[in-house]
């Protein structure tokens, strides 16, 4: 079992937060001097211990009770190991394929959207994980606009959330089905991005957080990996595609340096596996071939652990925040502007003629 890293201390928005981060990060003590020291310090010191810092603990307890929602979408051609990777990431059989292991699934003629939800629990923290799969993407001969159903789905989730938000009698906790993160699987050709990859990312990087990963990277040697990643990064830059973490949303220098480090190693070259083998006396997740065992969690072999740490252990909350504060807000602003007041596309009988602004 992995040790739990407490979630970052930012409030979980039960009511929609304002886009501007004017409110100071809660939980950080106002004291310029280290907390807990009674009476000492420079300037406006407190004369005793108040206990403001216990808010961290309170938030933690609350979050544990309410639990998280996390929605992840996987996009890529069939056979790139999407389901296996998601299962490996969350160490349980959470993907669409886990129910039956039959590989006789035919390639669907159009892109379908299939979502599967599971509640997984760790250290008392419950997470409702929804994995949205997109079978049929990029598999046809003619793949024009195969990203249209995906784009439609994402916007539909935003629309759902918007409608709930705009209700007069709102629910206390709006069910969040918006896609927080989209893992895009790049085929490990070793040459460069395919046209389809670029088209997809161009169309969707402004709508959802895209994290590109290089799938089945055990087919690339170390040099090939480095070269391929450089090429991919360059191509993304040339085409003006901004993947998560987006440069424009870096809040301060600390964030920027952290994220820069991540951006240097993206896209992550991953290998997924749900089978365990014995290596050097330890049982590890891996793939056994005639020439060796590829260890999934060994950072020298592939970057799976980097991806997992990045996505789950450090930036999970940030992914949700960016989705809520930026992607969703963009959608909302556009919708409200377009209709000059909220006039929902599918009128559902609510009295929403007047704008709530």
């Amino acid at each position: 079992m992995s040790e739990i890293v407490p979630p970052e201390v930012r409030p979980k928005p039960v009511v929609p937060a304002k886009p501007s981060h004017v409110a100071p990060p809660s939980g950080a003590p106002f004291l310029p001097s280290p907390q807990g020291t009674g009476g000492e310090g420079r300037g406006s010191a407190l004369l005793g211990y108040i206990g403001i810092d216990t808010i961290i603990e309170q938030m933690r307890k609350k979050t544990m009770k309410t639990g998280f929602d996390f929605n992840i979408m996987v996009v890529g051609q069939s056979g790139l190991g999407k389901s296996t990777l998601v299962n490996t990431l969350f160490k349980s059989q959470v993907s669409r394929r886990s129910a039956s292991w039959s590989r006789d699934d035919k390639i669907p003629k159009t892109v379908e959207i299939k979502s599967v939800s599971h509640v997984i629990e760790e250290g008392g923290v419950k997470m409702k994980l929804t994995v949205v799969d997109t079978p049929g993407f990029g598999d046809q001969i003619n793949n024009d606009n195969c990203w249209a159903p995906i784009s439609k789905y994402i916007n539909e989730q935003y629309e759902k959330f918007l409608k709930e938000e705009v209700n007069i009698a709102r629910k206390k906790r709006i069910p969040d089905t918006r896609v927080h993160c989209c893992l895009y699987f790049i085929s490990p050709t070793g040459h460069s991005l395919r046209q389809l990859d670029i088209e997809f990312m161009k169309n969707l990087s402004r709508v959802v957080n895209i994290i590109p990963v290089i799938a089945k990277s055990d087919t690339l040697t170390l040099e090939e990996k480095i070269e391929f990643k450089q090429k991919v990064r360059k191509e993304l830059e040339v085409c003006g595609i901004e993947c998560y973490p987006q440069k424009e949303f870096d809040e301060d220098t600390e964030d920027k340096s952290d994220n820069d480090k991540i951006r240097e190693t993206m896209p992550f070259a991953v290998v997924g596996s749900d089978k365990e083998y014995q290596v050097n006396g330890k049982r590890v997740l891996g793939r056994k071939t005639a020439w060796g065992v590829v260890e999934v969690e060994n950072p020298n072999h592939c970057e799976f652990s980097l991806l997992r740490d990045f996505m789950i252990r450090s930036h999970l909350q940030d992914l949700k925040e960016v989705t809520h504060n930026i992607q969703y807000e963009t959608y909302r602003a556009r919708r409200l502007n377009d209709n000059g007041g909220l006039h929902p596309i599918n009128s559902s009988g609510h009295d929403t003629q007047e704008s709530n602004l």
């Binding site: 051609q77 001969i141 793949n143 085929s187 040339v238 793939r287 071939t289």
Partner: protein, 376 residues
């Protein structure tokens, strides 16, 4: 008694043909058993040529495999396009020719590459430039063959097409099926599973089974190895059987030489191990090379000439003659016999003539018999 025995012996001698050849045993043998050697010497002098086409999406290791197969570097000056430049790229056909010599035998090897295949977002009919190219080569050979000077015909016909199926998928994709269906009657297709180093042995087996099933299910006629003659050695037959069960071959190619088990071999170096290209337990590269070059190169050429080219030729001629019949032209660009288009009137005439002939034959026979009887 003696007289009868003598008579019998005489009869035997006259009737039994064997008596003649036993006399000839004393003479020297004729010597045409050296014919294969003469053919061999002549062909070695002339040299061989072989045209190989590689098709598949970019990034599947086609160039690396070709380099590994023929131990050359055919793609030294290749420049790979980046994604922006590739947006408007169509499927091209490029040719590289290299002369290889080994133990006095010269081989003129032509590799036909198809960059851009399957790379666009919309790949409708992306195999059309390839089928057009193959037809063009057939047409050119057809014209040359029917021309006046047939001494130096250049044979550019494609003898074999290696089709690369990515190991990442779950079997054949729609574009693979359509490509192979468009080409299986024009060229010998050998499907390969490329970049097989990302598969565990179990996965390789499953994928091969699946691809074989799908090929059969879609009715794709890939190149079949010819059956062994019944008088071949047992070892050869065993090898042949293994070869057939291994298709489609799962191959790995490499341009680099690495150190493995104390030897320098072609391979790929990973942090978790070294893949050796020529190690039979790692991949089927050796089998492919043996099949393609060492045992079946000539058969591939034969099948191309005898089956695919003849199909094309028959098809072409039929088209031309039907056109001729339509246009009623008496001069044709090629000296060919027009196929008789069945016509009701002519058929009737033919029948009448046939019957007349039969009657006359019967009359002749009767007369012959009468004469015979008269003689006797």
């Amino acid at each position: 008694m003696d007289n009868m025995m003598l008579q019998e012996k005489l009869v035997e001698k006259l009737l039994c043909p064997r008596t003649r050849t036993t006399r000839q045993k004393d003479k020297q043998y004729v010597g045409f058993a050296t014919l294969p050697n003469q053919v061999h010497r002549k062909s070695v002098k002339k040299g061989f040529d072989f045209t190989l086409m590689v098709a598949g999406e970019s990034g599947l290791g086609k160039s690396t495999l070709v380099n590994s197969l023929f131990l050359t570097d055919l793609y030294k000056d290749r420049k790979l396009l980046n994604a922006e430049e590739r947006i408007n790229q169509t499927v091209e056909i490029t040719k590289h020719t290299v002369d290889i010599e080994e133990k006095g035998v010269k081989l003129k090897l032509t590799i036909v590459d198809t960059p851009g295949f399957g790379d666009a977002v919309n790949n409708n009919e992306c195999w059309k430039p390839i089928t057009d190219y193959i037809d063009q080569q057939f047409e050119q050979y057809f014209r040359d063959e029917s021309g006046l000077n047939r001494k130096n015909i250049l044979d550019n016909r494609v003898h074999c097409c290696l089709y690369f199926i990515p190991a990442f998928g779950h079997g054949l994709r729609p574009v693979d099926v359509e490509f192979m269906k468009a080409l299986h009657e024009k060229v010998n297709i050998i499907p390969l599973i490329s970049k097989a180093d990302c598969l565990t042995p179990n996965e390789v087996k499953k994928l091969k089974d699946r691809v074989r099933d799908e090929i059969e299910c879609f009715g794709i006629k890939v190149y079949q190895f010819p059956e062994c003659d019944s008088d071949e050695e047992e070892e050869f037959k065993q090898m042949d059987k293994e070869l057939k069960e291994c298709t489609p071959f799962a191959v790995i190619g490499s341009n680099a030489v690495v150190e493995a088990r104390g030897q320098r071999v072609r391979g790929r170096l990973y942090p978790w191990g070294i893949v050796e290209v020529e190690n039979q337990s790692h991949c089927d590269f050796v089998k492919l090379r043996n099949m393609l070059i060492r045992s079946h190169m000539h058969d591939l050429k034969d099948v191309t000439c005898d089956v695919h080219y003849e199909n094309y030729r028959a098809h072409c001629i039929q088209e031309m003659t039907s056109k001729l019949a339509q246009d009623n032209r008496t001069d044709s660009p090629l000296p060919i016999l027009p196929l008789p288009t069945p016509d009701g009137e002519t058929e009737r005439l033919i029948k009448m003539k046939d019957e007349e002939l039969k009657r006359m034959q019967e009359m002749l026979e009767k007369m012959q018999q009468q004469m015979h009887e008269k003689d006797q």
